[in-house]
Amino acid sequence: MVAMTESTGQSAGDRQPLARHATLALLVLLLMVSVASLFVGATGISPMEVIGAVLAGEPIETSARVVILDIRLPRLAMGALVGASLAVAGVVMQGLFRNPLADPGIVGVSAGAGLGAITAIVLGGLLPSTVGAALGYALVPVAAFVGGGVSVVLLYIVSTRNGQTSVATMLLAGIALSAMVSAVSGVMIYLADDAQLRDLTFWGLGSLAGATWSKLLAAMPLMVLGLLGAPLLARSLDTLALGEIAAQHMGIDIQRMKRLAVVIVAASVGAAVAVSGGIGFVGIVVPHLLRLMTGPSHAPLILNSALLGASILLLADMISRVIVAPAELPIGIIMALIGGPFFLWVLIKRRGFAGV
């Protein structure tokens, strides 16, 4: 069936059929990584025993059930959602800025979201108790969403003139933004008590270790908003790749698409940062690899980035769990070890391509 629809009407050089095959492969990859991540960790649980028990209808050993249902399953779901959200946020931001270097982490959007989250953690207690109770676990994600949104808008206003983004200005604005954010964060950390301080430090390194169902449920609406909203932008982002004026000529309401893009980036990054802290580079590594393999058309790129982002984060999380077991290395460190050199490699390859 799939092969038949692909063979008709597709012109040579259009990599959409290839991208569709990649989607299938990435789905299989995500499935395998997900299953593996349920069984990898400090407590050894044999997959065979668990699967055997489920198939035989026997009760699973209590300790194994707790580890799988209350620790690894929420962590698996959170890792997949965070990875997918960060990767999709990267694609949308790069499309909006018309530049493959626009990664939420590199240009300060994650930092802005982080500031929102830190403020909520430290000052959340000062809210009237009724408001605090009403927001509950949602307070931190919502604050991170606001912080991320403000950062994207600021960054866009500073670095884009007449629809042209200056890469240098964008990266410099990101530095300024990060500096301001870390100054204010410093103040917040100064105000924090000991317990909050421990939370902040661990959270800042980026980790999925605190995953619980309740945290996940609080952040999930924003992530789902981002993941379901992004595909609506696919055609607009394709046309925007030819410039703002050309996109308008092709029937796109530019102002509306920009607003939607900002909301999607802020929602995805805000929610991801709120639950997992500073996990960087997913938003640049994943879309970049996929563009190399299957091209920059946004419809397949958004879908495949979500799948690959989820898989990569789950893989990194497994590494973080076993590499210094029984302790854990924060996943943010693993991603920085992979992503830092990758970013440098992209910069080296792009030398001489300024602005493209």
Partner: protein, 252 residues
């Protein structure tokens, strides 16, 4: 019919268009000519809905002041002087962004003489080739010049400025064929000789106004051109009966 009446545009306090009257008919190629800075591109932006203006402008039944981007996109396609492409698309992928059916991509590329270029990376092409790929993309947006009895429009901003002479003729023939099939073509032109060969109507602009619009032999005259361009220009007739302009007169 595409028409503008008393069109005025002011950008950052500078008035670019001082009450322009302009008209283009379906089935014709209408050229806009004039010196640099005379307001040709601004007029084109107003006519394509990307520049706000005072006055009136209509594309068929659409009021250009209030039409939505998607309503305009269904009626007309626009080729810019230069289109920058962000991301490493192939030629086929760039054409598909135009939004036509997938099988139009191949046909449109063949139409601009790049039928075998589909798999190439867009950024590896020369400037002239890139411009023809963009024309193919634009053509897919208004592939049928008539849609349910209503003309569609092909709007071209200096479509041949980066092309060699053979491809200049090819592109102008594509424009003429589009008009012959019932669509309307409006093109900003710098080359007065190509204008004389292909235009059914010429609008000559100078200092933010259309100083004269009409048939080639009425508009491209010694006196109007010399006045508009501010240099001596002499209009002649080619051996086989067409108007041509040589710049040598300015040296005489």
């Amino acid at each position: 019919m595409l028409s503008a009446t008393n069109l005025r545009v002011t950008i950052d306090g500078t008035t670019i268009l001082h009450g322009v009257d302009f008209i283009a008919e379906p089935g014709e190629v209408t050229a806009i000519v004039g010196p640099n800075g005379s307001g040709k591109s601004t007029l084109l932006s107003a006519l394509t809905g990307t520049q706000t203006f005072d006055g009136e402008a209509q594309m068929g039944a659409l009021d250009l002041a209030t039409a939505k981007p998607w309503e305009l996109a269904a009626r007309r396609a626009v080729l810019a002087q230069f289109t920058s492409v962000a991301f490493p698309f192939t030629v086929s992928e760039v054409v598909r962004i135009g939004g036509g059916e997938p099988d139009l991509t191949t046909a449109a590329l063949a139409r601009v003489g790049l039928g075998t270029y589909g798999t190439r990376p867009y950024h590896a092409l020369s400037g002239g080739e890139q411009q023809r790929v963009q024309l193919a993309r634009v053509l897919t947006q208004v592939w049928r010049p008539m849609d349910a009895g209503v003309a569609r429009w092909l709007i071209l901003d200096e479509p041949v400025s980066s092309l060699d002479i053979a491809h200049q003729l090819d592109v102008m023939e594509i424009a003429r064929d589009f008009a012959r099939a019932g669509g309307g073509v409006v093109a900003v032109m710098h080359d007065l000789n190509l204008t004389a060969m292909f235009a059914d109507s010429v609008a000559l602009m100078s200092k933010g106004q259309v100083v004269r619009q009409g048939a080639v032999h009425d508009v491209l005259t010694d006196e109007t051109l010399s006045g508009a361009y501010g240099c001596r220009v002499q209009v002649n007739m080619a051996p086989r009966g067409g108007t041509f302009v040589l710049p040598q007169a300015s040296q005489a």
